[in-house]
Amino acid sequence: MKGGWASISARHLLFALAFLILVLAGPLLAPNDPFEMNLDNRIQSPSLRFPMGTDSLGRCVLSRTLYGGAVSMGLALAATLSSAALGMGLGLCSSAAGAITRAVAMWVIEVMLAFPFLILAVVIAGLLGPSGVNTWLGLTAAGFAWWARFSSSLFIKAGESDFVKAARAMGIPALRLTGRYLLPQVMPHAAVALLLQMAAMVTAVSGLSYLGFGAQPPTPEWGTMLKDGQIYMIDYPWLMIGPGLAITVCVAAFTAVGEALRRRFALKPLNRW
């Protein structure tokens, strides 16, 4: 079982990791300085020097798309990992032995799940003031409850398996029990969820900056670039091809890998918020 899971998932996770590194290393491939403004070169059509043209301030769209990847993906990765850690901690609490811990954890989960994900993210990130860090905070605050509910049922199920009961009866300390017996049972599910949530977070990061709550100019970010390009959509549609395509490919890659992994583990489709 253990060897099987390692070999099956290794390929998918490696692919996802390679993709992540590629995008995070995107800035190294950029042909031009993404911040360099040149008002003489405003809104140029694609050319050899600017393969995707230039934006309204004369900056290279391709270079900005490549830089923007590092920003969007970095934020999405950070938000996914932090909300997963926080949420799974809470999920563990909600399956814990103490009745009060359990009730409080369930209450927190139920309350937080009542807020639509994007509304909570917009409000928290927006009220704290638009910035990368606040985007991360907003997405973590809005996203952890999903992880808590998701992992809670898994931890409860794992805790009900006979060998965990036996281990508990033998008096193995709770921390060790969690690390040795509970977590390994939850890991395949968590790996699938990480990939799929990563896809959702990339969408959310760009969505927030599209609405004006994300990283602020001149930081290149896919959502912001789309928003800026939308004004010129009628005459210069190519401004939006770069960032639009980048987001879609990125989300599709994580979704496809996540779905492939899900089918390998024969898990049910996940419902996102």
Binding site: V108, F115, G244
Partner: protein
């Protein structure tokens, strides 16, 4: 769902559920209210800035007194919550109008969008999920699944922009932005519904495949029923049960997703109001919208849950066995 499904043991069951509901509702109110203290800076200053007045110390003092900001957090919260119970969500920092009135003025657009999108999702998800599940492994199923991954992957705002570009600017079939009759909802509904329909379709597909492999479907075939009768009466109905719960859950997705879609298409709904209010730090308005959406989400889901229990009593027994 985190709601524990337990056997209805009469009054005790109802009381426990009501207590739980009350606990959740007060939690929601608490979070919505504390948004005021989340925003950096003095709220009184925000009020003055929203009214484009210069924040002098005297004015700030006056506003603080006026809004009762000097009281401790908990007493401010109870005052706010009690008036919210009466339907009074306070007044906008910006316009001074009642928050509840502004929300209800914007509500029809958001509700129309949500209702139309939900109908779109139900139709598309049911058809694709059923076809995909019945023909699983076939070419059509693979095609539908590729379409699903693509639909889930294209973010709402990207899809919306592409649709505006193609259908409003290039062939001028629909209005670019804003509202002019029901047909201006076509593109927003498609944009918002496509990804939800794809997710629900996949869940339905999994359900269909699971049900196809049950004894009661084999038994129905053994009875000599034709494939259509089996699919209609036994497969579709049972596979839809988990999807119906999703329909309730996706209300949150609809309201949240509406924030982006309403902005892309400049629809004057609650979503655009929320973004405007956040940008201008109109905190009572933000609190009101957040409270309103969360409450509707919880109430709609309780209703779906109750309706399901009423129509499908076997659901209770099944979950009873699980526990």
């Amino acid at each position: 769902m985190t709601i524990t499904l337990s056997l209805p043991a009469g009054l005790g069951f109802v009381v426990r559920r009501l207590f739980r509901l009350a606990a959740v509702l007060s939690g929601i109110a608490l979070i919505a209210f504390s948004l005021l203290d989340l925003a950096p800076g003095d709220p009184a200053e925000l009020v003055l800035l929203a009214r484009t007045e210069s924040p002098t110390p005297e004015k700030i003092q006056a506003v603080r007194k006026d809004l009762g900001l000097d009281a401790p957090f908990f007493s401010r919260f109870t005052t706010w919550a009690v008036s919210a119970l009466k339907g009074d969500l306070g007044r906008s920092f910006r316009t001074g109008d009642a928050v509840a009135r502004e929300i209800s003025a914007r509500l029809p657009v958001t509700l129309t969008l949500a209702a139309l999108t939900m109908s779109f999702v139900m139709v598309i998800a049911t058809v694709t999920g059923l076809v995909s599940g019945l023909m699983h492994g076939g070419a059509l199923d693979r095609g539908i699944r590729a379409w699903a991954v693509l639909s889930i992957s294209v973010p709402d705002f990207v899809l919306g922009i592409i649709l505006i570009f193609l259908f409003s600017l290039k062939i001028e079939l629909f209005p670019v932005v804003g509202l002019s009759g029901l047909h201006s909802y076509a593109l927003p509904v498609f944009t918002l519904g496509l990804s939800i329909a794809a997710v629900h379709g996949q869940v339905f597909r999994a359900g269909v495949m699971e049900v196809l492999n049950t004894d009661y479907v084999r038994f129905a075939y053994a009875k000599g029923l034709g494939p259509w009768a089996v699919i209609r009466r036994h497969v579709a109905k049972n596979a839809l049960l988990p999807v119906v719960i999703l329909w309730g859950m996706s209300l949150g997705h609809l309201l949240g997703g509406a924030v982006i879609v309403e902005n892309v298409f400049s629809l004057p709904g609650v979503g655009t109001l929320l973004v405007e209010s956040v940008l201008q730090r109109d905190i009572p308005m933000v609190q009101g919208i957040v409270l309103f959406t969360a409450l509707s989400f919880v109430i709609v889901n309780r209703l779906v849950d109750a309706i399901m229990r009423f129509f499908v009593p076997s659901l209770i027994s099944r979950s009873g066995e699980e526990r």
